[in-house]
Symmetry: C4
Subunit: 242 residues, 4 copies
Amino acid sequence: MPKEEFNPELAQQLAVANRILVAQSVLDTFGHVSVRDSLHKDRFLLARNMAPGAVRAEDIIAYDLDSKPIDAGGRSSYLERFIHGEIYRTHPEVNAVVHSHSASIIPFGTTDVPLKPIYHMASFLGAGAPIFEIREAGGDATDLLISNNALGKALAAKLGNAPVMLLRGHGDVAVGTSLRQAIFRAVFAEVNAKIAAQALLIGRGHANFLNEGESMAAAKTIDSQVARALELWESEALASMS
Amino acid sequence: MPKEEFNPELAQQLAVANRILVAQSVLDTFGHVSVRDSLHKDRFLLARNMAPGAVRAEDIIAYDLDSKPIDAGGRSSYLERFIHGEIYRTHPEVNAVVHSHSASIIPFGTTDVPLKPIYHMASFLGAGAPIFEIREAGGDATDLLISNNALGKALAAKLGNAPVMLLRGHGDVAVGTSLRQAIFRAVFAEVNAKIAAQALLIGRGHANFLNEGESMAAAKTIDSQVARALELWESEALASMS
Amino acid sequence: MPKEEFNPELAQQLAVANRILVAQSVLDTFGHVSVRDSLHKDRFLLARNMAPGAVRAEDIIAYDLDSKPIDAGGRSSYLERFIHGEIYRTHPEVNAVVHSHSASIIPFGTTDVPLKPIYHMASFLGAGAPIFEIREAGGDATDLLISNNALGKALAAKLGNAPVMLLRGHGDVAVGTSLRQAIFRAVFAEVNAKIAAQALLIGRGHANFLNEGESMAAAKTIDSQVARALELWESEALASMS
Amino acid sequence: MPKEEFNPELAQQLAVANRILVAQSVLDTFGHVSVRDSLHKDRFLLARNMAPGAVRAEDIIAYDLDSKPIDAGGRSSYLERFIHGEIYRTHPEVNAVVHSHSASIIPFGTTDVPLKPIYHMASFLGAGAPIFEIREAGGDATDLLISNNALGKALAAKLGNAPVMLLRGHGDVAVGTSLRQAIFRAVFAEVNAKIAAQALLIGRGHANFLNEGESMAAAKTIDSQVARALELWESEALASMS
């Protein structure tokens, strides 16, 4: 079996995922999205080091769980590919990872105001959205990037079973059992952060968030509706790529 | 008379309504808009379970007031169709219903800051914008969705004669005697929420809202001008659909 | 001389002005812009009652200073045309008037926080931006619209020599000695309101506004640069109309 | 050697830079970007006085360090060209200068809230972002414009080694050793200001900014990734110009 072999359809789905996340203002010219390889569970697919808004299937590279490219063919890799490798290693149930600098989420990682679900669409946040403080794992003079396996391991450990984790002074990570679920969570975590911030401002620090029971119930229901959003986004992304 | 019969022009108007509400940032990939059937007053039209931004006339399904499809033809239905059925049953004067996750309105449903008319375009809000707290009707561990007739009935009762009702942790409902009026109210309720929030922030909790007399007078005048907005939005939506 | 005669080039410029103000988020489907007739100084030109985003030269109607159409040819008129007629009557130096529901400006009309110039581009605001409280002229149960000559006269009197006036619970008026100047002021008053609000929020009620000397000096300089913005906006608007 | 000679490729890059900065909401119809001439280190290139969104290579003029055009050919110059000339004279390491009215940055120049890096992408701000108060150099009744060499000299002195400087009541300046670096800094300073403001609002005046060690480390790393953003922006700008 050739080293680089992976499902070409999955690579195309990942290219589409990049375009969706740019269109939905989750990724800008930075950040990245990966998917666990369907043929080798100890590999994942990720674009070469480039702006996600231009990614095509031919830009996809396969990596092992040490985040080493199987066969990069001279193409350069994202500095933070270790986020992906270590999450896939630590969390076998995770099959897709989005790392972004979502503008509305960053403030919650830099204050003591927790990011909680303000509406049902982001009820998955009820399962928690921990903050990864890189100073604990890397000291207080890092460049904030998850640029090696040790930092990746610390980040993956902190994630636990949460669907979303904030990286202080940096951005966030959203994971899913599928590419569609990870995209959905990345998008609605950003929307939720924007709405929650506005609620906290007009409510002078107080807002009525979903409680635990509501979050659990709503997360299950909303999860069954992910396709409604993704089908439209995928068709729009495909149209923009042709 | 065949079971599914309804005015094809009305189905097309409803498809256009979906597109307008997406273009005006009231609906995203979720939410829905319905219209009372012009041929059977005990039926209403609603798109199949899909993102509103892609709805076409052929996606429209007729429902009875129990929110059961007359003939879905294998197509799936929105989980929250009961919002529509029960409002049409309880409020015979209502002929159109928009349910959305309007981003600027949600904060007002999760704080004790009431949504009031900050300018004449949303003077219809002077008639009240109650908050539906699902915990009262469904207990404190629902998924927040109006997914059965009992919840729909409670919601329709709470609505009363109000043009708009906020759903805590969820979104809102805007109704009208016509599709155009419901669209107009949904759009300007969202704009009003954005402006009112900003006024409350710079005014540190205080803003000079329309009083009752002004609201009543302005609502009547503005209602006579609905066509000005709708004619443009309809022509833009039609252009985007072709 | 036929009753309706006016310069067709001026009507086209006014149609373009409508499109610019929509593109710059000053007008939405409501609001209007007028220009004093170049052939009859006691007349002004204004679109028929329609959304400004669709106005073409053939939609322009001439009005006298009582805001009566010279020859409407069956076309309906804006309810608030009296804003324009009475300003042109009271202020001979004014040759163009924009009335809008600029979203960032409305909050300043409903709080006791004055709209002042936060940067040089809106230094014209240093000449004052009074608030028109319709309750003083029309009582406390009006529909807030300037729908007759008496209210128009009160509004024109309150304007004084100011370039911009806020209408509480409604919007604002921007005037100019030329169509280009009025457009420029309407656009940068809106941008200024957005920036000033943000400055007041992060500054907790305090911001370093332009002082009187700076405002006067900057207003003169910036006025000489109006064409830089307008040339681009006009060419973009013309492209969108063809 | 003809007076006006400069690298035509550099002029095209500068035209593209103008378009990028408009697309990224750093420049509107005002502001400008310059680059030091590659053939004569005591000259710089800058568009003629026009809206940056329409600049093409043929609109570029060469200036000496007194900000006098080498051969304007009858074309008019920006009133504030002295910003560029004096920065190039004082700071030999600077090869590109962006001057803009970035909307999210202006508030920080008008309050006592410093603009600091809230995330790694703007870690260059850790090197400082001083505020230029024109009242110190020009008195308290200027038009706020840097319209002569004396004001330009004062501004260039205040800049020091900072990558970005705020101009109170006006906007900001971002510099770089290359055109790409200056663009990158101008864009992410604006994004950072928006995120930092939101963090300060929800954090009620407190946010966890990057510390000095993090800023220094991250600035070095991020600087190595500038091409990722610029390659996409350049290709999008070129597509919009054809």
